[in-house]
Amino acid sequence: MLLRDICDWLQGEVLTGREKMGMEVQGVCASDLMSHVLANAGEKVLLITGLNNLQVVRTAEMSDIEAIIFVQNKRPAPEVLELAEEKHLLTILTPYSMFTTCGILFKNGLRCGLDDGR
């Protein structure tokens, strides 16, 4: 699934890393628990989260996650976006809630990207 399409479905606003819009992701990790993401995220996953702090970007960096969706228009502070830019992460802001975001992506064929996901 192309990140460009995902951004369209979610009426997303690209905050950083626009150059990654042509990248593909294979699954989704939706969590507000960063330790859970660190423990379980599989390869080529997209992170959907209701958090918007620096540790979300750090967690994505350590887990080799290339793209983050911030739900419910929870726009991160400038220093968070600066770090995301520095790490070449694609970050997208969507007006949808976590539930609706997941629903839209599921309907379009994306599945759980956790290593223990079913």
Partner: protein
């Protein structure tokens, strides 16, 4: 580098980690990750080291009075040592249980403190040793072998 192990001299990196500094938390692990990438280690190894180092670094920031993170990078394995000045862990077996945490609400709101840090480190490590006790510092020794 990986094809030329005999030429590779072990490298030591050293970082101080401050108590409660959530702005810089993760910088040390990020630098360790970058060096491993530059040295050409496989992606799976880099990820395991980065996750273990980051969880250890966050533990120092969240739970300790400050400490340091050290990485020794060799051709066979990477060793991370996280050392802090206290207050120590009174029951290590309990701290290793998934879900057990003493982290404050502020930390939980940031997505940590769910009692997964030490088990996460264990899962990434080839060898993992915790030395601690109430009233003294904690030392985590995490060895991650290049070939599993």
């Amino acid at each position: 580098m990986m094809d030329d192990n005999k030429q590779f001299k072990p490298l030591k990196l050293y970082f101080t980690v401050e108590q409660g500094d959530f702005i810089r938390a993760g910088e040390a692990s990020s630098k360790i990750k970058k060096v491993l990438s530059q040295l050409g280690f496989p992606g799976s190894l880099i990820r395991r080291v980065a996750i273990a180092a980051y969880e250890a670094e966050m533990n120092i920031v969240i739970h300790s009075w400050g400490g340091e993170l050290e990485a020794e990078i060799g051709p066979e394995h990477v060793t991370i040592v996280a050392r802090d000045r206290g207050p120590g862990i009174s029951d290590i077996a309990l701290a290793m249980e998934e879900g057990y945490s003493t982290a404050p609400d502020k930390v939980r709101e940031m997505g940590f403190g769910a009692g997964m840090g030490l088990p996460n480190i264990q899962n990434c490590a080839t060898e993992f040793i915790i030395e601690s006790g109430e009233g003294r510092g904690t030392v985590l020794r995490i060895l991650i072998a290049v070939k599993e």
